[in-house]
């Protein structure tokens, strides 16, 4: 498994930062959850849809967990995004959220599901636990800078 290294906006290594990618086409929800993470010291990347989320992941900016809405603009919804992440970035847990109860048959890459309206604190705690559960990496196994 590749050992992720977190980078700041300049592409410099930031070994202590936790980083999460929030994906939601509703800006107020995206902003609220992103701020909850930032107040706890997380680096937060924000994407308005799956296309942006994939651009961020492909940029090499390390993401340690993804929190994504299910319902997003065509052609890739949150479930499909989770499947893609499970294939290309298998060490990155994906947590889904939706306003309708979980009827997702294909749970590939889905670590958890939160029904909206969710408790912001519980989401942040759960994702923090998922990140902490990842195996730690020795410093000499850092990825190259994107």
């Amino acid at each position: 498994m590749a050992c992720p290294t977190s980078y700041d906006g300049a592409g410099q290594v930031n070994a202590d930062a936790r980083s999460v990618l929030v994906v939601d086409d509703e800006i107020l929800l995206r902003y609220l959850i992103a701020e909850q993470f930032r107040e706890r010291g997380y680096t937060v990347l924000e994407a308005v849809d799956a296309q942006e989320a994939l651009s961020i992941l492909e940029s090499g900016t390390v993401v340690q967990a993804v929190f994504t809405d299910v319902l997003m603009p065509w052609p890739i919804d949150g479930v499909a995004l989770a499947r893609i992440i499970a294939t290309k970035w298998p060490s990155v847990p994906v947590v889904l959220t939706s306003g309708t109860p979980d009827r997702v048959d294909d749970r590939r890459g889905v670590a958890a599901f939160f029904l909206k309206p969710y408790d912001l604190q519980k989401v942040v705690e759960h994702i923090g636990a998922l990140i902490d559960a990842r195996p730690s990496c020795p410093p000499d196994q850092a990825d190259s800078v994107a």
Partner: protein, 137 residues
């Protein structure tokens, strides 16, 4: 759902409006590094949702000019002038201008600049070029 708390002390909040995710994320990170609180909007429509929310305090709007959708940066600036004349609006149509404007804001930011603004330009260009190269394969 919890509503956001108002910004503490004198930390100013910048609303960055930019549809290109690589520009938005790197400029936003730079501004946060200077001590600003930053809200990211991917379109003028998203920006208006934020601006119409009375519980969110915005001090500066920093917007791209050309954006997809019904409203450009110019139209957004016009909308703001009519409804929120108190807001400082910065429009930037190119990456260089956006980073230059961000650098100007960082000159007056609460914290020292985290790194040289050319680093931001270089990173954006590198990311955009890498994405273009991948798409051509």
């Amino acid at each position: 759902m919890n509503t956001p708390a108002p910004p503490t002390s004198t930390q100013e909040t910048i609303l960055v409006v930019e549809d290109e995710v690589y520009v938005r994320m790197t400029v936003a990170e730079y501004l946060r590094g200077c001590g600003y609180k930053v809200i990211e909007a991917a379109s003028a429509d998203e920006a208006i949702v934020v601006l119409q929310n009375t519980e969110i305090t915005i001090d500066i709007v920093f917007s791209d000019v050309d954006m997809p959708g019904a409203m450009s940066g110019f139209a957004l600036a016009q909308w703001i002038r009519e409804r929120r004349p108190d807001l400082h609006v910065i429009l930037a149509g190119t990456v260089d201008r956006a980073v230059s404007a961000a650098d100007d804001l960082c000159e007056n930011g609460p914290l020292p600049k985290p790194y040289h603004p050319q680093v931001v330009v270089d990173r954006i260009r590198r990311l955009v070029a890498a994405r273009a190269a991948k798409r051509q394969r």
